[in-house]
Every structure is written in structure tokens, then in C-alpha cells.
């Protein structure tokens, strides 16, 4: 990998953080995006997109809700795609690098968020001094620090580690490839279970069944299932709205009766 390519891929990794920090979680961290950008840098957009898409499926449910986040898919996806393109390998190799990186970077993130806590006392002091500029400076400093870590980590791994990476990729035996492929297949189950947990309401279980059956037995795709679900949701909204409007009226009626009884 050339120096310029390593620098640019480092920027992509930094961008996945910039997205959350300064751009309002606009989803530049998703593997489809990073795969596309890395593909553009490495000169093979089609393959970048395909690896990005496959990593995307693996991490479909990787939800970072609150501080209890699990995986850093931004850096993981970027480095995974970059290694696969660099060594001319397939999804299994991308997975072999994407997962460890996503776990390591998440640990680093946790340390970073702990370290930033101490800076907050500086902000308190700045407010007492009436120095708002300093408070704003600290706000941006945190982001700048994050981008620097991500950029440097990615750049160093890809530029100085490329020989090591190549030898690792070459030494992955075939049986391990099957294992890595299986990880990529099973891991989405984790994500979908997290989503189910997030949306969970016993009363909603029938709709899960509808979605599953439509896809598994009838072969309806995502857009089709969503359209069916939106239609059902609109019908339910209509029915329940009528019920909602009816309830207060009934309550008023009941109250009146009580008055009359008196």
C-alpha cells in the first residue's frame, strides 16, 4: 500500500468518528460507506462495495446505544476492507481483521471517554472564569484528539504493518477460513437479537412472525416486507385512534351517570 493510500484510508477511519462526533451520526461509519471509500482509494470500487456490503450484513444490528456500545464498526469496517483489497482476498480475510479491530478500538474508545471526564472539570473552571472560548475549545479538542488516534492507528497498521498483514493473510489455513466464514454468517444473529430486544413488546410478536414468514416462505424482500408492515401499522393506527378517542368519551359518560345517580 502506498503512503498516500495509507494516509487516505487513515482519513476514512477518522471520518467514521467525525461522523458521530461532529456530523450528528449521519452514518458515514457504516461498512457500505467505508467499503466504497476504501475501494475508491485502492482503485477497485466494485470490490470495495461488495466487501462493504457483506460486512454491513454481518454488522446490521451493531447498535451503539448509549455508552454500553459493543463494537466499533467504523474502524473495523475500514481496516477490514482495506486489508482485503490490499491482499486481493475475499470476505473471510476482511472478517478476520475487521472483528479484532472493532473490539480493540471499542476498548480504546472506552478509555478515551473515561479520560475526557477529567477535562470536564476544566470546563467548569472555564465557566467560572467567564471564559466560554476555552469551554468551546475543549469541546472541539476532544473530537480532534479522537480523529488523531483513529488516523494514526489506521495509518500505522496499514503502512508499517503491511508485511505482517500479508504474512498473516498467507498463513491463514483453509479450515480457519471456514470458521471465519461461519462467524460472518452467525454474527448478524447477535445484531438482530439486539434489535428485537430494543423493539420488544409481547404484543408486537405477531408482526415479527409476519415479517419472517413473508421472507422465508414467500421470498418477499425487505422493501416488500416494509410496505406490508407500514400498511398494517397504518390500519392499526386508525383502529387504535378510534379507540383512544372513544375512551375519554366513555369516561365522561360514566362520570355523568354517577352524577345522575347522586
Amino acid at each position: 500500500m502506498s503512503l498516500i493510500q495509507a494516509i487516505l484510508v487513515g482519513c476514512v477511519a477518522a471520518l467514521t468518528q467525525l461522523e458521530g462526533d461532529w456530523l450528528g451520526e449521519c452514518k458515514l461509519r457504516e461498512p457500505v460507506i467505508t467499503g466504497f471509500l476504501v475501494g475508491l482509494i485502492m482503485g477497485d470500487v466494485t470490490k470495495g462495495l461488495m466487501i462493504g456490503g457483506a460486512l454491513q450484513l454481518m454488522w446490521m444490528g451493531a447498535t451503539n446505544i448509549g455508552p454500553s456500545s459493543g463494537l466499533d464498526i467504523g474502524a473495523g469496517g475500514t481496516i477490514g476492507a482495506a486489508v482485503a483489497l490490499m491482499t486481493g482476498s475475499d470476505l473471510e480475510v476482511a472478517v478476520a481483521f475487521a472483528i479484532p479491530v472493532a473490539v480493540i478500538m471499542q476498548m480504546l474508545n472506552i478509555m478515551k471517554m473515561t479520560a475526557f471526564s477529567t477535562l470536564m472539570h476544566q470546563v467548569d473552571a472555564a465557566i467560572d472564569e467567564g471564559n466560554e472560548k476555552k469551554a468551546i475549545f475543549i469541546h472541539y479538542l476532544c473530537g480532534f484528539f479522537t480523529f488523531s488516534i483513529y488516523f494514526l492507528f489506521t495509518f500505522i497498521v496499514l503502512y508499517f504493518g503491511s508485511n505482517v498483514i500479508n504474512s498473516i493473510v498467507e498463513s491463514i489455513p483453509d479450515w480457519a477460513m471456514n470458521g471465519l466464514g461461519a462467524i460472518a454468517t452467525v454474527l448478524p444473529a447477535m445484531g438482530f437479537a439486539l434489535l428485537l430486544n430494543l423493539l420488544w413488546d409481547v404484543k408486537l410478536v405477531p408482526y415479527f412472525i409476519v415479517g419472517f414468514v413473508a421472507a422465508a416462505y414467500l421470498g418477499v424482500d425487505m422493501v416488500g416486507v416494509c410496505a406490508i408492515a407500514v400498511a398494517i401499522a397504518l390500519i392499526m393506527f386508525e383502529i387504535k385512534s378510534v379507540q383512544l378517542n372513544a375512551v375519554p368519551a366513555a369516561a365522561i359518560g360514566a362520570e355523568k351517570d354517577e352524577w345522575e345517580d347522586d
Binding site: 462526533d21 461532529w22 450528528g24 451520526e25 452514518k27 458515514l28 457500505v32 460507506i33 466504497f36 462495495l49 461488495m50 462493504g52 456490503g53 454491513q56 447498535t63 446505544i65 455508552p67 459493543g70 472483528i99 473515561t114 479520560a115 475526557f116 477535562l119 470536564m120 467548569d124 469551554a135 475543549i138 469541546h139 472541539y140 480457519a176 471456514n178 461461519a182 462467524i183 454468517t185 452467525v186 448478524p188 444473529a189 447477535m190 437479537a193 439486539l194 434489535l195 430486544n197 430494543l198 420488544w200 413488546d201 404484543k203 408486537l204 409476519v210 415479517g211 419472517f212 413473508a214 421472507a215 422465508a216 425487505m222 416486507v225 416494509c226 406490508i228 401499522a233 393506527f237 383512544l244
Partner: protein, 269 residues
């Protein structure tokens, strides 16, 4: 007649709200980001009251944490309440933070359902299906499907938060519309996850048993039982573990180890 923020001030809060997570930390969480977003408004409100301004700044440096997309609603609400607090000396400033804290849970709940549960899933699955074919529309569609609702929620959240304030939320909550809205969103969310489970995990078994000269292909039997039954089972097992409060880290590591071993042994693929 709903009140409106000055155009310039509205834009400042709107754009600054995108940096809410910029200094996320475990002590104050999004506190500094929140303060940064509404700082120009605080300066306007307390322009002739240095001590009041410091007090207000400290107030909004307190811990705050919320799904980011609905947060501008709270920012608008906060600015409106700070104005009220400045005009009316008897206004209890403690209620401003009490309200902020009380909104964190419910708005994050709705925000997570919509943004993580629905918009992200829809955006990413559409994006991935184009990307897998090497189609450049993948990333474009992903960004559009997620960010159009993201921008609209932020824009109207801030507008409504300032203009109609807490009354708007009370109205929605007390009429039960809020719950109904979340419920109906949940229908779409659950159905999509059902579809994803069936179409995008695809665990299968390459096992072939050889019993008395008859080849028994395990996957054929599994398919007769129910298509994608292994994927469904995997999701339900993980859900069970999550409900039993097993940490996500442990589950992830468990999946990686088990899947790797089973894959290596040729039991699943």
C-alpha cells in the same frame, strides 16, 4: 401563536446540535455538547447578567444523554424555559434540569426505536443489497434513507421544542398518541427484523450423514421443518440471553468462538 427563534440563532443551534457527541465522556456524557449548542442563546438571554449566565452555563454542563436526533427538541425547550426564567424571578430554575432529565428516557426510547430500529436498519439493508452487486447507489441510498428523517426530526424538533414547548409533549403523552405512535413504529420495526432474520443470516448445515448407504442431507430436513430455522433459532437464543442480562460482550465472544469451531468442523456454514 407559536413563538419563533431568530433565524440566525435557530441555525446556530441546529448546526451546533450535530456536534452533541463531540466531547462524550462518562461523567457528563453529552453535557458539554448540549451547552455548546445553546450557548449563543444563553448569552443573548443573560447578556446583562454575568452571574446569571455562569449559573445557566453550569446548569447545562450537568450530565445529559439522549439519542441524538430528538435532542434539538430539548434544546429548543430549554431555551424557551431559560427565557421564562430570566423574565420571571419566581421561576424555579431547578425545573429546567428536572424536565431535561425527565425527557432523556422517553425521547431516547422513541429515538432508538425510530433511528436505530427502523431508519438505520432500512437504510443499511437497502444500501447493502445494492452494494453487494457492486452498485454505487448503495452508499448514496443508505445516506439518504437515514439522513432525510434525521434532518427533519432535528429541524422540526427544534422548531416545535421552542415554539410549543412542553405543552406539545404533554398533549401527545396524555392523549396516548405518543404510545400509539411508538407502537405502530414497532410494528414496522419488528416485521423488518423478522424479514432480516429470514433473509440475511442464512446459517445452513453442510452436514451429510451416511446411514446404511443412504445419504441424509441434514439441511433438506431442516428446510422441510421451516426455511431458515437455524437462523431463527440463533436469533431467539441470543434474545433469550439478552433478556437474562448476559452482557453483549460475552455473547459476542461466545458467538465468535462457537461459530468458528462449528464452521471449522463443517457443522455450519
Amino acid at each position: 401563536m407559536a413563538r419563533e427563534l431568530d433565524k440566525k440563532e435557530f441555525n446556530t443551534i441546529f448546526w451546533r446540535s450535530f456536534t452533541l457527541l463531540g466531547s462524550f465522556n462518562y461523567e457528563r456524557m453529552e453535557g458539554l455538547g448540549f451547552l455548546y449548542a445553546i450557548l449563543p442563546s444563553l448569552k443573548r438571554i443573560y447578556k446583562d447578567d454575568v452571574e446569571g449566565l455562569k449559573e445557566a452555563e453550569h446548569r447545562h454542563m450537568e450530565a445529559f444523554n439522549m439519542t441524538v436526533a430528538p435532542s434539538p427538541f430539548v434544546m429548543g425547550l430549554t431555551v424557551a424555559m431559560e427565557e421564562q426564567a430570566k423574565e420571571d424571578p419566581s421561576f424555579d430554575k431547578g425545573t429546567i434540569n428536572a424536565l431535561k432529565v425527565s425527557l432523556m428516557g422517553p425521547l431516547s426510547g422513541i429515538g432508538d426505536t425510530f433511528f436505530w430500529g427502523i431508519f438505520r436498519v432500512l437504510a443499511c439493508s437497502l444500501g447493502a443489497s445494492f452494494a453487494l452487486q457492486g452498485n454505487i447507489l448503495g452508499p448514496i441510498i443508505l445516506l439518504l434513507v437515514f439522513n432525510i428523517p434525521n434532518f427533519l426530526t432535528r429541524y422540526y424538533g427544534l422548531k416545535i421544542g421552542y415554539g410549543r414547548g412542553a405543552g406539545f409533549l404533554d398533549e401527545l403523552t396524555s392523549s396516548g398518541k405518543m404510545n400509539l405512535f411508538t407502537y405502530c413504529a414497532g410494528i414496522v420495526g419488528m416485521a423488518s427484523v423478522g424479514c432480516l432474520t429470514a433473509s440475511w443470516i442464512g446459517i445452513s448445515s453442510p452436514l451429510v450423514l451416511n446411514i446404511a448407504g443412504n445419504e441424509i442431507i441434514i439441511q433438506e430436513y431442516l428446510d422441510q421443518l421451516c426455511p431458515q430455522v437455524l437462523s431463527l433459532a440463533a436469533v431467539l437464543i441470543v434474545l433469550r440471553l439478552l433478556k437474562n442480562k448476559v452482557s453483549t460482550m460475552k455473547i459476542t465472544i461466545g458467538i465468535i468462538v462457537i461459530a468458528f469451531v462449528l464452521g471449522t468442523l463443517g457443522i455450519i456454514a
